[in-house]
């Protein structure tokens, strides 16, 4: 490809477009109280929130892997009637306002919810306003990133490799584990990292469904929001942490994110 000269109008608008993202980030960096960085990040409430966020987001990622990869396989490989509808439902939370997700979770899993009532009566399990509730909210909102990434990779994988494995004596389950999964591993990794980053930043569904109890449900984004009123320095520095994590993830995935699906295949 030869380098081409871009039209001035396009370049100007593109520049303005990038400013939409650049300006707030620069402002954040500019106004960060760098001097108190260590003090704030090691203070009690912040450490509690950071630890809670780390644990819940990793748990959510693990659950998303266990449930989301099979879901991706079903969406990619079966001729299930209503597959498109199922895909839409399973990825709806990517575009849904998180607060709506929280309301829906509440109606399903709240103490008087459709399933929640039953969980409470029979097993004494309560999800709202608990740490597991935080994880549920994060799974709900973040899992689609994994499902879509892995589904795309499986769809592009030449089915004949799986056929070959079947003729060699592999059961469907053996082939799934030994042929399909290794072939789409890069996409699974990319999807998991994106899912983790999304879970880490989850706010709306979490605060709606799990509330904001220090140590049990007050994750970093919620801590950030609350600190904005009382301790702006803390809010800014926590924001900075989230920005750094998100930026690192996206930057690290730059090659893989797009290339993952393609690399898993190789006909």
């Amino acid at each position: 490809m030869t380098p081409r000269r871009a039209p001035t109008v396009v370049v100007t608008l593109a520049g303005l477009g990038s400013l939409v993202f650049v300006v707030p980030l620069v402002a954040l960096l500019w106004r960060s109280p760098w001097g108190s960085l260590t003090d704030v990040l090691t203070s009690g409430p912040v450490r509690t929130a950071l630890w809670l966020s780390l644990v819940t987001s990793l748990a959510a990622t693990a659950i998303a892997l266990v449930l989301g990869v099979p879901l991706a396989w079903v969406l990619a490989r079966t001729r299930l009637p209503g597959r498109s509808a199922l895909r839409a439902v399973c990825t709806l939370s990517m575009v849904l306002p998180p607060v709506v997700a929280g309301v829906a979770l509440f109606l399903a899993l709240g103490r008087r919810g459709v399933i929640g009532e039953w969980l409470d009566d029979w097993f004494g399990i309560t999800l709202p306003f608990t740490t597991p509730g935080v994880v549920v909210a994060q799974v709900f909102v973040a899992m689609p990133f994994l499902v879509l990434t892995v589904e795309a990779a499986i769809e592009q994988l030449d089915e004949r490799f799986e056929d070959a494995a079947r003729t060699l004596g592999g059961s469907e389950w053996y082939v799934f584990r030994r042929v399909t999964m290794p072939a789409v591993r890069p996409a699974v990794v990319a999807g998991a990292v994106l899912t983790w980053a999304r879970a880490l930043g989850e706010f709306g569904a979490t605060i709606t469904f799990a509330g904001s109890f220090p140590g049990t449900t007050r994750t970093v984004p919620i801590e950030t929001y609350l600190a904005l009123e009382t301790d702006p320095d803390r809010a800014i520095l926590l924001s900075l942490v989230l920005v750094v994590v998100s930026f690192t993830v996206l930057f690290a995935l730059r090659g893989r994110w797009v290339g993952a699906a393609l690399r898993g295949v190789r006909a």
Binding site: D158, R160, F161, D163, A164, A165, R166, T167, L168, G169, G170, S171, Y174, R178, V179, P182, A183, R185, R266, A267
Partner: protein
């Protein structure tokens, strides 16, 4: 341990009706033009696609009857070598070959040892640790065939195993494959090259547009090709025309005396082997009853023979020795005398 296939396979809008029996120790070649349905037959025997009707059975066990019985691929004693190799990229050559044994529950160490033996038999033992991406096409196909054989299947399906290879690699692999110790395995070879068929197959089944159009040995086919595809496959000329009182007249008006005494008059196909036609500078005297003059349309020289195309009948291929061609001292465009004995022309009803 006989493989019996008598089934209809439906792929998209195409129906393939196939009827073939392969005895243990025998290799049957399934030949036909692209899109004839050969690969679909392989997929049906392997259990990768169900038959619509009929039956696939091995050693008396029904594998698929299109209705209630269906034995899944992993429970059939089948090995498949695919045209595109389909080696697993994340595994070494050795692990690829061991895959089937591992899938069948063999311990890791034993599976690898057996795999090594098979790589050795296919002449690629030194490539054991390489990934498929680091192998040439020929090497990949050798590994793929070793992988198909490693589980010691009763039925071996070779789906155009040489199609993607260049000529020299192809010849070497064909030779090595023919030399493999022959277990009592029923082999079905999909091919569209006469040399592959000649080297490996005992019998041939011709599949065209989803129908079996001819079957027999390669010699049977060469003796009396029933379609232009078969004629092309074995390098024979095939003329379509009518037979009247032992005289053949092609559709474009070329007349030949033929020795077909048992064939009733009517539409026929006349087959003329390229080597059965002689070329002369002067009009030949004596026995041949078919002599005509024709211009040379093209000449194709290989080390051991010269293939000449004549303008009459159009495109007729003639094969002569290089010495014989030199003695003619002709070039494309020149006219020569051609002759063929009536007894050398095969005639089958069309």
């Amino acid at each position: 341990m006989t493989l019996v296939v008598d089934a209809r396979v439906v792929v998209g809008s195409m129906t393939i009706a196939i009827d073939v029996t392969v005895e243990p120790g025998e290799t049957v070649a399934l030949v036909g033009p692209n899109g004839a349905g050969k690969t679909s037959v392989v997929r049906a025997v392997a259990g990768l696609v169900r038959v619509a009707a009929g039956r696939i059975a091995h050693a008396g066990d029904t594998w698929d009857d299109g209705v209630t019985i269906f034995v899944p691929p992993d429970q059939r004693s089948v090995g498949v070598a695919f045209q595109q190799y389909l080696l697993f990229d994340h595994l070494s050559a050795l692990e690829n070959v061991a895959f089937g044994l591992r899938a069948r529950g063999q311990p890791h160490r034993r599976a690898l040892a057996a795999a090594r033996t098979w790589l050795d038999r296919l002449g690629v033992a030194e490539l054991a640790e390489r990934r498929p991406g680091e192998l040439s096409g020929g090497q990949q196909q050798r590994v793929a065939i070793a992988r198909a054989l490693a589980t010691e299947p009763d039925v071996l399906l070779l789906d155009e195993p040489f199609a993607a290879l260049d000529a020299s690699v192809r010849a070497a692999l064909r030779r090595d494959l023919a030399a493999l110790p022959t277990a009592p395995v029923a082999r079905l070879l999909v091919a569209h090259d006469a040399a592959d068929v000649h080297a490996l197959a005992d019998r041939v089944v011709v599949l065209e547009a989803g129908r079996v159009t001819q079957r027999g040995t390669l010699a049977d086919l060469a003796g009396a090709p029933r379609s232009s595809y078969v004629a092309d496959l074995i390098g024979t000329n095939l003329l379509r025309g009518t037979l009247v009182n032992g005289s053949f007249r092609s559709d474009d008006g070329f007349e030949l005396t033929v020795g077909a005494h048992e064939i009733p008059d009517g539409g026929v196909l006349a087959g003329i082997r390229p080597a059965a036609v002689a070329l002369h500078r002067e009009r030949p005297e004596g026995s041949p009853r078919n002599v005509w003059r024709a211009a040379i349309d093209g000449v194709d020289v290989t080390p051991d023979r010269v293939r000449v195309r004549l303008a009459v009948p159009e495109g007729l291929a003639v094969e002569v020795t290089p010495a014989g061609f030199a003695a003619l001292s002709v070039a494309p465009g020149d006219a020569v005398w051609a002759s063929v004995k009536a007894s050398e022309i095969s005639v089958v009803p069309d």
